[in-house]
């Protein structure tokens, strides 16, 4: 404990976190309905992406089965909340727990399979899951899909049209989901942040770096991998339950491999092995396409396939982004931070000893300009 407490976050980091929190809390008041709906989907997805971040980012286990765990959570919510009319205070945690249990059962497979073999076996999970959803109508409504319960605590529920009024402040359906998801996301981030600095979290990172070395050093591989799967699936379950509840109607074909790929994309875009990465990546992957689309006027689309073109632009952005910033959004942020710090370091002596050492300054800025892939 004593050793850990030395790694206190620096003051600017705390300040930045507080600033982000304030912005996140105020955001709904500056947004229109479309932006807020998109924000709800992003925050809900970020919870699931954070989970995948634990599994893939920290423990190094590549999973394309996230859609399966999202679905487990969603259908747990549907059965408990929709069929049995229980409170969200029960079905929301239950969604996480049931998914975590399934994750713990899948975890041992990771002891036998490595890397992309594990990735593709987890794809199998998605297909087997979908086969069950298509066939067990009592849970999923069958191929035609089913409706999902709105979040409800006691007599108050979050369904469309309901709103919460706190001293002249109105929070509508979208806002309620936003704040609920935001609170869960904040707690989850705090948990993952703590985890990453705790003993089990470092065990995960050791497994990611060199599995055999970790096990030689006394890391319990089985326990570490199973718990990574369980934590990841827990967050996926919560995220899936909230997603289905907010969307209100879901068909089994929505829990597809494509959904898993989006989550993997989110953590990669954000930056692997960080707390903020999955959240930032979720913003890019789940908000950029609708926002791009909303920027395009569609009233007179005529013969131009404008929507295909926005998708092309989105794909090109991904390619260009990764060519120039392989570290993801977090990598970009770090680089900007370096540039900023570098600029400050350069500015300070400039004020003190004006006009000194121009050659050194130049060298430094040259170095900053070299992209990481070329180093």
């Amino acid at each position: 404990m004593a050793r850990i407490s030395r790694q206190r976050p620096s003051r600017p980091k705390v300040a930045a976190t507080v600033a982000v929190a304030i912005v996140a809390i105020l955001l709904p008041f500056a947004m229109n309905a479309f932006q807020l709906t998109t924000a709800v989907f992003v925050v809900i997805a970020a919870i699931g992406a954070l989970g995948l971040g634990v599994l893939t980012g920290y423990a190094g286990q590549i999973s394309l089965g996230h859609a399966f765990f999202l679905a487990i959570g969603a259908y747990t919510a549907a059965v408990l909340g929709g069929n049995d009319h229980l409170s969200a205070a029960i079905w929301l945690p239950a969604a996480g727990l049931v998914a975590a249990l399934c994750g713990a059962l899948v975890g041992p497979a990771a002891l036998r399979l490595r890397g992309l073999y594990l990735a593709i076996v987890t794809i199998g999970l998605v297909f087997i899951g979908q086969h069950v959803w298509f066939n067990v109508a009592a849970i999923s409504g069958g191929p035609g899909g089913r409706s999902f319960p709105a979040v409800a605590f006691g007599s108050f529920d979050f369904s469309v049209g309901n709103q919460l009024t706190i001293g002249g402040l109105v929070i509508d359906h979208n806002g309620l989901y936003y704040y609920l998801a935001l609170i869960i996301l904040a707690l989850a981030m705090l948990y993952v942040w703590n985890l990453s600095r705790s003993r089990p979290g470092r065990a995960m990172q050791a497994v990611r770096e060199r599995e055999i070395a970790a096990s030689v050093m006394g890391v319990n591989l089985a326990r570490t991998k199973v718990s990574a799967f369980a934590i990841s699936s827990f967050l996926a379950g919560i995220s899936g339950a909230l997603y289905a509840s907010f969307l209100s109607f879901v068909t089994p074909d929505q829990w597809s491999l494509l959904l898993s790929v989006q989550y993997v994309a989110a953590i990669i875009v954000g930056g692997i092995g960080t707390v903020w990465g999955p959240v930032l990546g979720s913003i890019v992957i789940f908000a950029l396409p609708p926002v791009l689309q909303s920027l395009v006027p569609q009233t007179a689309s005529g013969g131009v396939p404008i929507d295909d073109i926005t998708s092309i632009v989105y794909g090109l952005l991904i390619i260009v982004f990764f060519v120039f910033e392989p570290g993801g959004v977090v990598g970009l942020a770090r680089r900007l931070q370096r540039v900023w710090e570098g600029a400050r370091a350069r500015q300070e002596p400039m004020h003190k000893h004006d006009g000194e050492e121009p050659s050194q300054r130049q060298e430094q800025s040259m170095e900053e300009r070299v992209p990481t892939w070329a180093k």
């Binding site: 404990m1 850990i4 407490s5 790694q7 206190r8 976050p9 705390v14 976190t17 507080v18 929190a21 304030i22 809390i25 105020l26 709904p28 008041f29 500056a30 229109n32 309905a33 479309f34 807020l36 709906t37 998109t38 989907f41 298509f134 069958g142 191929p143 035609g144 899909g145 409706s147 369904s159 049209g161 709103q163 001293g167 002249g168 402040l169 109105v170 929070i171 509508d172 359906h173 979208n174 806002g175 705090l190 703590n194 600095r197 969307l247 209100s248 109607f249 879901v250 068909t251 074909d253 929505q254 609708p290 689309q293 909303s294 569609q298 009233t299 689309s301 404008i306 929507d307 998708s311």
Partner: protein, 436 residues
Amino acid sequence: MGKVKLRAVAAGCAAGVMAVSVAACGTGAVGAGTGGSTSGGIKTGAGVDAKTKTISLGVLTPLSGPVAVIGKPLTAGQQTYFNSVNAAGGIDGWKVNLVQRDTKYDPQTEVQDFSQISSQVAFIGQSLGSPTTKAIQPAADQQKMVVGAAAQDSAFVTDPVMAVIGTPYAIDDANALDYIVRQTGHRNAKIGIIYQNDAYGQDGLRGYLAGLKSYHFNNVAEATYQAGDTDLTAQVQKMKSAGARYVFVVAVPSTAATIVGTGASEGYNPTWVFQGPAWSEYLMTSNGMTTGKPTPVAKALASNVWVLGYEAQWGNMRVPGMQQFLANTKKYAPTQIPDYYYMYGYAQAQMETALLRKAIESKDLTRQGILNAKLHLGQVNLGGLVPALDYTPSLGPASRTTEIGKVTVGAPTFLRSVSPFLEGTAARGLQFTTSG
């Protein structure tokens, strides 16, 4: 460590609370009400601009992705009709403007699109697809917003806000069975079905089973496939070995062609009965018109395929609205090829124009006013392009008639009517419950 963490959180909370109270004094309130106002004796609501006398309608439809094949022509058909209405001075002086969003046939995108445009439109002039429309149904119900659902899912015909034209699949299937009885004279023909394993396929299956029950047919084989399956030999063989003489096909065009092609190359040629969306002109030729190069499956399709629909034959001048329809198409969509989704969109716009006319007559263009107009619209003739609709507060399907077209090489849209609009006894008796 714990302390830092707590302090950070506490600071965040304090700042948040402070900021929220600031926002409360200002403009920030989450969500927007849709206040009504009155203009020239007409009460107006969201999406109705009294100054410019413009009514905006939302269009939520796939304009990209695989279902754009349907979404694009359907929207073009609506646009053509509204263009003609606007050019003729509008509806009692009110012009209609379409606000389109691409849903990609994805429920989440549909919800986002809906939230983006719902405050700018009087109602949703088109929402294409069953799972997509179901995702916005709670919000539409709550806002009392009429939705022109372009989906023949039976679940929509019992929701007051859903304005559906045409005939549900279930009734189409029942009518086709009725026709088989009358054509063959006996009721022991062997019948099978191949359906896509989704909401659309389920609805077709439901209608098929209901129809079989009332006509006491032998259901000799049922087979299903998953969207994306490339080889349907097993499904076709199941029909073949069961000896099915009529096979209902509830599929998308590419799969429907695969089914018929597979059957033909194995020497199995029953009468294939296509559910409307299984058909596309592009299955026949390279450009969807008679001038194009025939596809490899064209011959098999032309041998024995019926297509269930409720729309008039393109170019059939005995249909009263056809001349105007063709003239408008020539004027506003000169490059449009004969396409039944286009015609559907055109007819849907006719329905919506009638709806707005009624609401304007009642001097109420608020959401509630438009919903009232829809519930009491009564019978509306759509120029014979689509069967006349009948909206009443007791709800139910807009029409119960079906037209059966046989795939024919020479016909303008490759379809020749083999039965006039027909309404069988089973179709007449089919009940729609509100359970959804």
